[in-house]
Symmetry: C2
């Protein structure tokens, strides 16, 4: 008898009929003799509706009260899902995050899980129930209701799987699994049977929107094997797990394109110690995430250099303000922003043992007539910044070269 944690997102439980479908799936699994814990999100649209209500009251509601408000969304779904299982004569009981023993820190709207003591989950499972747990939420040790922020329901599922020592954690979503690249760009993109945590992490941070990094990091830390699969069919999905020896035989696992980055170039920055530190400290203090940073060599006798970096397009205005504030002190000539960029990345643990991967990528782009603007590499990833208009052509060329 296996213990399985299944997570269904907001679209999968978006209305009573879909909740009934989820219940049927769960009932089928249970008929095989497995113990099942189901983690659900708020029904799609519900969270947005609650946010809209709050904004009608005041523009910037308190985070504590937003958690109080939004946590009702998942609580609604768990009750309805338990009822749908009852309708199929499957014993089931729902638990809020707090009742399931999910204890968090006090960081309202983006709390971190501190620990899980799933006594009540065990008790209900042992009594023969399917246990339905509200995703995205927890409670502090002092009894305050908290939410876990974006991707929180995935995190609930993976953390519960770790705490319960589950045999498998299944993340049901509206895609079939993790693909070698976006199938909307490359129709012959292939679904991956498996992928390592590190590869998944790189892909998550590179614009492949399957899952948030934090859930993958949690899974890696606690060794939770999880499967990303579709709630709309019975196709096997993609297993995300610790790297295995044979994974290295594949040179690269996937190709990702991130269209949401902007590039800022600071021209003629005085080339003296501490300047880069001053710039990125100011940006960091404004909670702006910087991704790639490239500094060119000094402009000969001028003693000046250029520094380019990328950040989310959404942070561009904030970044400009920070730079204006420090321009006099730092002494760069100007800050030039470019929103028309794409960040193309290839990811694969196979890079460690295969040489010439970067060269092959650059060559492929050159053959396709695509200019490379910035380059950044890690142990298992190579990213390049290119013109946004060339983004999809670049994905096609690189995917064809490495993944056929």
């Amino acid at each position: 008898m296996a213990l399985i944690v299944q997570k269904y997102g907001g679209t999968s439980v978006g209305n009573p009929d879909r909740i009934k479908n989820v219940a049927s799936r769960v009932a089928q699994h249970r008929a095989k003799g497995d113990q099942i814990v189901v983690v659900v999100s708020a029904m799609s649209g519900v969270t947005d509706g609650l946010i809209k209500l709050a904004k009608e009251i005041m523009p910037l509601p308190s985070e504590r009260e937003m958690d109080m408000l939004l946590s009702t969304g998942e609580q609604t779904t768990i009750a309805l899902t338990a009822m749908a299982l009852h309708a199929l004569n499957v014993p089931a009981a729902s638990l809020t995050g707090a009742q399931a023993g999910i204890v968090t820190d006090g960081g309202h709207t983006k709390a971190k899980i501190a620990n899980i003591t799933p006594n009540e989950v065990h008790k209900l499972l042992n009594a023969g129930n399917v246990v339905i747990v509200a995703g995205f939420q927890g409670m502090t040790a002092e009894g305050q209701i908290t939410t876990l922020g974006r991707g929180g329901s995935d995190l609930t599922a993976i953390a519960l799987a770790a705490a319960l020592k589950a045999d498998l954690c299944q993340i049901y979503t509206d895609v079939d699994g993790v693909y070698t690249t976006d199938p909307r760009i490359v129709p012959n993109a292939k679904k991956l049977a498996e992928i390592s945590y590190d590869e998944m992490l790189e892909l998550a941070s590179l614009g492949a929107k399957v899952m948030q990094s934090r859930s993958v990091e949690f899974a890696k830390k606690f060794g939770v094997v999880f499967e990303v699969r579709s709630s709309l069919n019975d196709n096997p999905g993609t297993l995300v797990k610790e790297e295995t020896a044979n994974m290295e035989s594949v040179v690269i696992r996937g190709v990702a394109l991130d269209k949401n980055q902007a590039k800022i170039t600071l021209a003629h920055v005085p080339d003296k110690p501490g300047v880069a530190a001053r710039i990125f400290k100011a940006i960091g203090e404004a909670s702006i995430n910087v991704d790639m940073i490239v500094q060119t060599a000094s402009h000969g006798a001028s003693g000046a250099t250029d520094i380019s970096f990328t950040t989310d397009k959404a942070d561009l205005l904030k970044t400009r303000k920070v730079l204006e504030a420090i321009q006099g002190e730092v002494g760069f000539k100007e800050a030039i922003a470019d929103e028309k960029i794409g960040k193309l990345s290839i990811v694969g643990v196979g890079m460690r043992s295969h040489t010439g991967v970067a060269a092959k990528m650059f060559e492929t782009l050159a053959h396709a007539g695509i200019n490379i603007d910035m380059i950044s590499t890690s142990e298992i990833k190579i990213s390049v910044v290119i013109n946004l208009d060339k983004g999809e052509a670049a994905v096609k060329a690189v995917h064809a070269a490495f993944l056929g």
Copy 2:
């Protein structure tokens, strides 16, 4: 500095604008220097919407899961109300029933309050907050979410007022207070400045829909003085409190008409010991509430009697089935139902010290040409069953005779 508990019902918090109005009222009170605890219901329509969702999943949802589902309604309102106070720069924090320390028994959908340990309420009050508590809900000692059933939010307010030793409990509603009778029937009905718990209890059970009996009983048991008043204006309401000496100087406090009763007459019931017990035991076991019971004297030599009783119209079908099942065993001739009845009652602690009240009531009805079908009296109440068509005329005549 007084401590005041205020309760606002679903209509008073029915949309964001109304929630803002409630917040303004609370802010005005607080500006006088009082500490305030606000108990709110679900926004009007929300509970019905959730029930509809549940029924789409299954016709008879589990009571545990209904509690899980419905308790989200009040949780939504508390968060929005706290935000609305924040928008007025009033420090405020919301608490679910469980967080407010409201511990109940395990009777899902109609739980009874076992005890209240409002530590968190005190803590937040002492830190200068208005504390917003979700009405209608609590938690068992084992951590199960429960709801208190009809009128539950009033009960939350009164129970909290008792536990907090509040100086006053205000029940804000859509009427101005308790009237001598329904002002829609008698336009010159007067608002009562005060009324005793017992009179309020009799009125509550007689179809005056201001409050459920259980909340009044709780208030009486713990000596909580509460005021019923309107959330739409600043008029003083009606104080409900322990009987005082001067209350007896008024002969009757109010006149009530209950149109929701039906009368059942069992004809030719064998007049022997245990028969009435057998009938009302069967009806009680079917959870049917019986109000008035009248048994006529034996029909001379036949050894048979007639028994009439009243019950809610909604229970009439169920009552008929119970009677059919026992007809053979009990041996009555037939059961005759009459839905066209009204129960007219006068209530007042003054009856104890004034004689001739019943006679004056019967005489008034006789003068108005209204026939009396059944009579039932208690220490502070006289009820008569009359023809439904004469109901409003009877209220007018009796109100004029006793209350001008």
